[in-house]
């Protein structure tokens, strides 16, 4: 999807305040489900309903990267409050609350829904969100592989 964000968009900090606890000191492992990705992290810091991850892990979790102007992905940057950062740690769930993203967790697995603002290119510009799924031989096929052709996508199921 990141390849399909064509506008430069800097979001102003939202009026709401992200609730952020100080990063706890106890580390654990966790699995994070984000879009189509499943990422196993050796070190996270869970704190109540919050999940702190190492900032260096962000790109492989959700393709965001922390920069001076905020959390950035492709040509979009989202300013983040200082409270979401603590040394090498970043409050991933606090970030989700700020951007209106759903998440749910159990037994060390954290599942995150879509980031509403990242869907803008679909709702507003009709740009087809990319996806990647394996074919019957296990080869990964991206929707974007078919750019330049008309595409019909139909889902079926065996149930």
């Amino acid at each position: 999807m990141a390849n399909h964000i064509h506008r430069r968009e800097f979001l102003l900090a939202s009026a709401g305040t992200a609730v952020a606890l100080a990063a706890p000191s106890t580390t654990a492992a966790a699995t994070v489900l984000y879009s189509d990705n499943s990422v196993k992290l050796d070190k996270v810091r869970p704190a109540g309903t919050d999940l702190w991850v190492r900032s260096a892990d962000l790109p492989r979790i959700n393709q965001f990267e922390l920069k001076p102007q905020g959390a950035c992905r492709a040509d979009m940057c989202i300013p983040i409050p200082k409270a979401l950062k603590n040394g090498e740690w970043f409050n991933l769930t606090g970030f989700s609350r700020k951007v209106g993203q759903s998440f749910i967790s159990d037994s060390g697995v954290w599942s995150f829904g879509e980031i509403p603002v990242m869907r803008g290119s679909f709702y507003e510009s009709r740009i087809a969100p990319d996806f990647a799924v394996p074919d019957r031989k296990g080869k990964i096929v991206h929707l974007s592989d078919f750019r330049g052709k008309k595409v019909l996508v139909v889902t079926w199921a065996s149930w």
């Binding site: 399909h4 699995t31 998440f103 829904g113 394996p134 074919d135 750019r147 019909l152 199921a157 149930w159």
Partner: protein
């Protein structure tokens, strides 16, 4: 292609199968999620009917392939916006919950999988993919569960196929 994670349904808000989308050469969605049958027929279950208009769908598809942007089945931006709405908070949470259920199922924890499949169904009861995927794990009960829910429907089982070329689209 095999979509074990329901990535396509999630990206395009498909709520049943078969559903389809059309995408043009520039990567723009020409027609968003809608039933994508390839034949026309009416199925009856317990006095209620499922009307399938695949013949219309296939004819429209042929027209678009041949005529491209001059096809009367191209949707205007206004019509696209009318049909495609951002997910509600409950729908977004349902999506996250369903993906969590899929992960637990794939990793052998059927108890937690059932918990989060059920949570997703409660949050977004109109998404039949959520129901049918979970029911597929207990196939001996799936038919009865489907029929019970189907009989209680107060709207068509599939979203209505709005593909009349004589209407402005």
């Amino acid at each position: 292609m095999i979509d074990a994670q329901h990535a396509v349904s999630s990206a395009y808000q498909f709520v049943n199968v078969p559903m389809g989308i059309w995408i043009d050469e520039r990567g723009r969605v020409v027609r968003p999620a809608e039933p994508a049958w390839t034949e026309g027929r009416t199925d009856k279950f317990g006095g209620k009917a499922i009307v399938i208009e695949g013949d219309k769908y296939v004819a429209a598809l042929h027209d678009w392939v041949k005529n491209g942007e001059h096809s009367p089945y191209m949707l205007s931006d206004e019509e696209f916006a009318r049909r495609v709405k951002p997910r509600s908070a409950a729908e977004m949470e349902a999506d996250a919950s369903f993906k969590l259920g899929v992960w637990f199922h794939d990793n052998g924890n059927n108890e937690l999988a059932a918990k989060y499949f059920e949570h997703a169904q409660q949050l977004n009861p109109d998404d039949w993919n959520y129901h049918r995927q979970e029911w597929s794990f207990t196939p001996q009960e799936a038919g009865k569960k489907w029929m019970d829910k189907f009989q209680k429907l107060d709207k068509p089982y599939y979203p209505t196929l709005e593909i009349d070329p004589n209407k402005k689209q």
